[in-house]
């Protein structure tokens, strides 16, 4: 309960001002396609040079919390996820928005984010020592199986065709192998100088989601009817509260999955939302409604990606190992003030450590309040005519993908993938499994190679990948996930006709 003692520190005028600044700034940066949480935090580091350690961390913590949630805004209204964490939010969130429920979807996403986020931070406060052991339990073999689990999600993510879902995933996995391979340093599939550095996930994400949206707006032509992108009906916040807490299963699965996955170094944030979405779909009594603008989809995805924020800092704060790129940047923010994270951080610098954690706690609530206010403004965002929206999104996509590493090559990759994705989408492929493949490919490959190197030097490949309870648990989940998908495919085939699929496709586009 020590954190309560330092809670007052968050509310001094200057600290609270920074918290507010970080939250508002984070929401805006998060909602801008191309600015991932890692980038937003890295961009803020120079500002923290001039601040006290405590104040600098408040700014960084608030920004980290709110960029993750802010990504939901563009994911829902424009079907452009602000960061990989928000991919799953597009699946139901944007479909809700096209049905006029944009405000409702935003309210649900911010409420679910706050619930998940608070749970995650409380885990960080109360269970850090226990969780630290967990974070270390995942060695190369376990991370490999975890990545495979992610791959099995690919096929069912796009429920209209398992084969095309898997094929989209394969395209993503292949794209991830382009460039230098991470361990050996050998060059693979470099057919153009733009891809010599490999395909960066952020520009690819922008292209794959934003460009098809832009082209779709072009296809509406110069007609005056249908000029608005989407219409948004008002939705009372009270009903959103009721809805979130009525969907207990989705909320619980999202929060728990997000917390557990957030803990695992190196995998964390990017896939938490997608795995939670998939799991809650499998456990839901209305699983067939997922993908058609179902509130559970938004709740699961958003509660998961914010629940991961707290636990993702456990390895950093206890073991001094950054578990995610964002945590690595936060580590820099600590070191610059001469603060070494580690088990005695809370003893040596209680004021800094607890104020940082408290700022994330208060930041979650502040983010939720501001987010609900933004949801009210959604109607005016949506009133933008599609010509303006198409041009704006195109400009943002170019600037956003350039700014990731000041590279023209990234812009070309973004545009090429985006244009190709538009045509692929017209033939039943979808972007979400493709991006998932792009993210999981390197994790699966690197851990497989490291695992086999360790295995060859010690116990042998078979024993290394197939012994130990954690390996078996993960393998069992993989098998369960695969058989569930196969079973769904067989039973669903009876009534999935071409017309059904087309109708659903129509609802989605």
């Amino acid at each position: 309960m020590e954190f309560l003692f330092y809670l007052g520190d968050v509310f001094t005028p200057i600290n609270f001002g920074l918290l507010l600044l970080g939250t508002v700034g984070g929401l805006i940066l998060g909602a801008t396609p191309g600015l991932s949480p890692t980038m937003a935090v890295a961009l803020l580091i120079p500002f923290t040079f001039k601040l006290e350690p405590q104040q600098g961390l408040i700014l960084l913590g608030a920004a980290y919390t709110s960029t993750v949630a802010g990504g939901a805004v563009s994911a829902i209204l424009l079907k452009i996820p602000g960061a990989p964490a928000n991919i799953a939010t597009t699946l139901d969130g944007h479909t809700m928005a096209t049905k006029g429920e944009g405000a409702k979807a935003l309210q649900l996403s911010f409420l679910a984010s706050a619930v998940g986020g608070l749970f995650g931070v409380f885990l960080l406060i109360f269970l850090t020592p226990v969780l630290a052991g967990w974070a270390l339990a995942f060695g190369p073999s376990h991370l490999f199986w975890l990545a495979i689990l992610g791959v099995t999600v690919i096929g069912t993510l796009d429920s209209s065709s398992v084969v095309k879902g898997l094929l989209s995933g394969c395209i993503g996995l292949w794209l991830a192998t382009i460039g230098f391979d991470d361990i050996m340093g050998a060059q693979r599939f470099i057919f153009h100088p733009s891809v010599s550095g490999g395909i960066n996930v952020i520009p690819a994400l922008i292209g794959l989601f934003a460009i098809p949206q832009v082209i779709t707006m072009f296809t509406k032509g110069r007609s005056s009817e249908d000029a608005e992108v989407i219409s948004v009906e008002r939705h009372p916040i009270r009903l959103a509260f009721i809805e979130v807490f009525r969907r207990k299963t989705a909320l619980a699965i999202g929060t728990l999955t997000g917390s557990i996955i957030g803990l695992i170094p190196g995998v964390g944030g990017q896939i938490a939302g997608l795995v939670a979405y998939d799991q809650s779909k499998k456990f839901s009594r209305e699983s067939e409604k997922f993908g058609t603008g179902h509130s559970e989809g938004v709740i699961a995805a958003e509660s998961a990606n914010n629940a991961m924020v707290g636990p993702s800092l456990v390895p950093l704060l206890t073991l001094s190992i950054p578990g995610s790129p964002t945590a690595a940047v936060l580590l820099g923010g600590l070191l610059i003030h001469g603060i070494f994270p580690g088990p005695d951080l809370f003893m040596n610098y209680p004021q800094v450590a607890w104020t940082f954690i408290n700022s994330m706690l208060i930041g979650q609530i502040l983010m939720c309040v501001l987010g609900l206010y933004i949801a009210g403004l959604a109607a005016s965002v949506a009133r933008v005519p599609h010509a303006v929206m198409a041009a704006t999104v195109l400009g943002l996509a170019v600037f956003g993908s350039y700014s990731v590493q000041n590279s023209m090559g990234d812009v070309y990759v973004m545009a090429t993938l985006g244009i190709a994705m538009y045509f692929l989408e017209r033939f039943g492929f979808s972007a979400a499994p493709l991006v998932l493949g792009l993210i999981l490919g390197p994790i699966a490959e690197a851990n497989f190679i490291q695992g086999s190197m360790i295995a060859n030097a010690t116990v042998g490949t078979g024993a290394y990948f197939f012994t130990g309870w954690l390996n078996w648990l993960l393998i069992l989940i993989v098998l369960a996930s695969v058989s569930y998908s196969v079973w769904m495919e067989i039973t669903a085939r009876r009534y999935t006709t071409k017309d059904d699929a087309v109708a659903k496709e129509e609802a989605l586009s």
Binding site: F49, L136, A137, G179, G198
Partner: protein
């Protein structure tokens, strides 16, 4: 009309001529970018951000330096870009890591070598150290080598990648101790390699002194030896060097970090940078932040760096020739 064009051409020539003559006096007139070939938050990135934080001061460049990360494949992605695509206009700087990029260029498959870059100044020297988990049975390098002799090729230890400083240290250790070891390169860099040691995925690891020092402070690892000619008096005065423990290993794996520009950058700009950048590293604020972060500094001028690069090129060619 002809006269007019000729006059204009003359005027243009005169203008550009004078711009060259005064040696780029107004450089830099806009913010400068510095490419770091490792991810945000890594040791190189962290240090690069600190040493460039005073660039905007009037006594330094007078313009801020913005860090841009181009990570991938142990630095190859960033340096390839720097050698082949970066504009040599003085507004694109890069961070170098020795011996990494020289070792990679000797090994091949990349489009750069020491001749592709012009060094400006060196800011830090981070020796590699050998770490084992806090509860490991190994208490000295002797224990480690004894285990390796009993289990040839069975001593697993992590490092940040292939043909980076850690790998060079590993090769030197293999050669000096006459044993076969299992070096496991990590895809997540030094942080990932350290995690593998603490989690017990591997029996030991080579890591940066600065990161190992932090992990030791946190009580997670034991540091058994330093791959350098002398002990590190500032951070690890009690840890013996490899030579003290009977292994003939020099400082070829010490990770030197500094600033460079692509070949072809105007000489006037190189001279100006070579003069101001070392002074910028001497700044008191920079020094205190680096010390606070546990990062050893070693400031070297352009001439000293040129010499160091040439020496490393020679040692590494010899070391890697045996592979």
């Amino acid at each position: 009309m002809k006269h007019l064009i000729a006059g204009a051409a003359l005027a243009m020539a005169a203008m550009t001529g004078s711009a060259f003559a005064d040696g780029h006096a107004d450089y830099p007139d806009r913010p400068v970018m510095m490419m770091v070939s490792y991810g945000a938050g890594g040791a190189t990135d962290f240090q690069a951000r600190i040493v460039t934080m005073t660039a905007g001061n009037e006594d330094a460049l007078g313009m801020p330096i913005a860090i841009v990360n181009r990570p991938g494949a142990g630095g190859r992605v960033g340096w390839n870009w720097f050698a082949s695509e970066a504009e040599a206009d003085g507004y694109t700087l890069g961070a170098y890591n020795i011996p990494h990029f020289i070792a990679q260029s000797i090994e091949g498959g990349v489009s750069y070598s020491a001749d592709s870059f012009e060094p400006i100044a060196n800011w830090g020297a981070d020796p590699a150290v050998f770490v084992v988990g806090a509860d490991s049975a190994f208490n000295s390098m002797e224990d480690v080598v004894a285990y390796a002799k009993e289990n040839p090729g069975g001593l697993t230890f992590s490092g940040a990648g292939l043909f980076v400083g850690h790998h060079i240290a590993a090769l030197q250790l293999e050669k000096a101790a006459g044993v076969k070891l299992a070096y496991i390169p990590n895809n997540a860099g030094g942080a990932g390699a350290m995690r593998a040691v603490i989690a017990g995925d591997v029996l030991g690891g080579v890591n940066n002194l600065s990161d190992a020092f932090r992990a030791q402070q946190a009580g997670n690892v034991k540091i058994l030896g330093v791959f350098d000619l002398e002990r590190n008096a500032e951070f690890l005065p009690d840890v013996p060097t490899m030579q003290e423990q009977g292994f003939d290993i020099d400082n070829a794996s010490v990770n030197f970090r500094g600033v460079m520009v692509p070949k072809g950058t105007p000489q006037g700009i190189i001279d100006k940078l070579a003069e101001t950048v070392p002074a910028m590293f001497e700044n008191q604020r920079v020094q205190s932040r680096m010390a606070a972060g546990g990062s050893p500094m070693a400031i070297m001028t352009r001439d000293e760096v040129l010499e160091m690069w040439a020496a490393r090129q020679k040692t590494l060619e010899e070391l890697l020739a045996g592979l």
